[in-house]
Amino acid sequence: MKLRLTVNGEPREIGEVGADESLLTVLRDSLGLTGTKNACEQGECGSCSVYLDGGLVCSCLVPAGQAEGADVGTVEGLAGYRDLDPVQEAFAQAGAIQCGFCTPGLVMAVHDLLRRVPDPSDGQIREALAGNLCRCTGYQKIISAVRLAAGRVNGHHGY
């Protein structure tokens, strides 16, 4: 099957997509966008989080065919040419990254959270990110990163 979709603002066409492929494998294997990670491939860890038509999804759970015509946003699309997204910058500065395998998914999830809730409470942060596993950090520095990013984007979030 053929697949047409928009990824990070660019129209893309994939000539051959297998019936059992997911949006994750299309992004990683067909489009070479390996920033989106493949940690569990069953929707438990959030490492493959992307925007699908504006909503955050685990791309491993989205059958490729379901992304036909969709607008997909990945971690590669967040940073500008020179500047990091404030969420990415906050992750780096707060020490929220160790091995980093969960980072792209968490950056997407935090980006989505701050878009919806510009100044989240501790409880809101924990609840919103409970679907994203991290094995290295114990989460504390990620929560610091969310607060840091929220402080920077609060009120003038352009998303």
């Binding site: 491939e41 990415q88 395998f101 094995r135």
Partner: protein, 798 residues
Amino acid sequence: MVTTVTERARGGVGESVVRVDAVAKATGTFEYASDLRAEPMLWGAVLRSPHPHALIRHIDVSAAAALPGVRAVLLAADVPGKRTFGLNFDDQPVLAEGIVRYHGEPVALVAAETPAIAHEATKLITVGWEPLAAVTDMEDALRPGAPQLHDFGNVLRHVHIIHGDPDSAEADVWVDGYYETGMQDQAALGPEAGLAIPAPDGGIELFVASQWLHVDREQIAPCLNLPADKVRITLAGIGGAFGAREDIHMQIHACLLALRTGRPVKMSFGREESFLGHVHRHPSRIWLRHGATRDGRLVTVDARLLFDGGAYTSSSPAVLGNAGTFAAGPYEVPNVRIEGTLVFTNNPPCGAMRGFGAPQVCFAHEAQMDKLAAALHVDPVELRLRHALRTGSVLPTGQVLTGAAPVRELIERCVRAPMPSLQPARGRDQLDYPGTTGNVTRGEGIRVGIGYAVGFKNTAFSEGFDDAATARVTLSRGADGVVAEIRTAAVEMGQGLTTVLTQIARTELGVGQVVLRTADTSMGNAGSTSASRQSMMAGGAVQMACHQIRDRLAERARGRFTGNGQPLPDPVELRDGALVAGGEWVADVTDLLDEPAAETAVYHHRPTTGFDDAGQGDIHVTFTFAAHRAVVEVDTELGIARVLQVVAAIDAGKVLNPLGFEGQIEGGTAQGLGFALMEELLTENGVVRNPSFTDYLIPTFLDMPPVLTEAVEEPDPGVPYGLKGIGEAPTISSTAAVVAALRDATGRELNRAPVTPDDLAGLRPPRPTAGPPPVPDVPGQWPVAYYHQQVSTQQQLM
């Protein structure tokens, strides 16, 4: 790949420095092993045994080989060289030959044009299985008539340690305890992965996420029947390791397929295969008997340890050696007997995981200290303070603690840390109840508990092993000024080593720009990135190389700039781009670099020894101590716990990068908390039952409380910067502290980790025991295989 750091005059040792790879990781451009490609690339897949113990009567690969897109199907007979490998002993088959000994053991390999075809082909391989009786209980493995896993039986190693006179020690108060720990998994998010590319010279280029490239090569090359220099390994990006990447996983398989097909072969495990395809933390059973005088002096400890090594050796002998040496806890005890046994079973092989034998015994000895305190009517913190090891104390092995040992200070920091504010049981936000939205009560059964635990562990390899680390540093003129380049095969796996190495180079060389070359086997051996050792070992080598460069530049300055050729006054330093002697500017470094200055250094830790017949010896290099305090609340009706706060006090020596240090402590504490409450790889008759993140639970944002990190910085003498290895310390005592708090909240015995809701609600009694098994008859303290001449070139004990 090259990582360049261009911060100037900042970012030295002791400063909080942002990771060198942070931006690449935040933007998704950091390349992990599972992201690699090299066209025209094939995908490898493995057929694994569904049985824990079975004979292979026949294998038919014809249907698999005939599947369109399949390029190779390999069996054991296709291995061109040695057919086994292993870290301590080469007892693990590359591919099963006639028999399998655990669920998940590799049987056949496929290379195909797509991952889907490769996996489909593995299903078309038919194997004539003849299941055998499996021994899957570690006590059963010791019984007469049990199925024997290997030629020399089921006992892999027994260590015997006698200190003082335990047989005639007299005590007024005796406390017996029996403890069990389950099989924890490292559960790194990055899957095992790598890419093997055949080279024109008949050799192989392997890109892999591994904790020790050189020991991989020592195991890979003989199996491929290639000389070591034809196996060139480059580190690929690692998505977490925690010990699981010390053993070979896909390395040999990918190389075999690539050499057979003449094409690049990528392998990347799915989550289920990851759980089946790497080693785990050893399950344990521990019997302790503590004796004290009526006035509260601990006079004797008798410890019997039984560890389940699974089907093959891996690094089990060293895990047992560690567990034995730590079994009495970080306390002064005049009379000790420790009998530790590690057995083979048909369970999955166990090996290295953060803590390496220490968390299991810590869980037991700390429960025992609380029990003893209760029996003596003494405060449990006071009992620990009274017996805490200090510099000069003698361990059960007779080893004298010569390094820093601020155990009392660690405990006191935990006591002094602020307590969390407790919420009333009623009227909370639903997320603030144990079990969050699953809690259907009004908090009537909520009880609060506080627990303390103290633990310790060695840094670097022990028992006489000289695990040296090599680094090469070059200082030269670059386009934007003086640049330092670091080449070391030490592995960055997320812990922050490369950032620390750049800090050391900046501090010692006084330059801002530091370039790190990606680790590969063309560089000198840096030893394993494990055992909390690389800040000391690779950091020590980088520091030594920098000192050699400083001395070289001082010689150049003496000849060319100081006129009279006299030695420069001390101290000679490189600072902010200048050579400074006796506090005076001598020359700009850039003017001393007409030729680059390049130096290689090899750092050795002080020598250690093995165990003598009584288990005595200078076994370990140095130690890191840790103490935790946990505050929990338990809904005693539902059996659901919520950890409110953990304090982690760590014997840090010198904190090199506070931001990275805190991250290690918080993350390590989380893994210990997971082991206390939820993490267990379950097996049923040897078959793994929960190889997924749906069923193997690790702590989430909702499980982790705030962690307060306390660093005690007492420099360790003879170690660069006085630092201590801190990677494992936070994982050792956090499990014991959380379970102690659960006992305090529930009043229940809770003698097994992880604790389950049934345990907390009283629906399941403490685990029973018929007492420790008899001490096995072994030839000596070394692994039994050693005495049977089944020793490979690998004898390092980690």
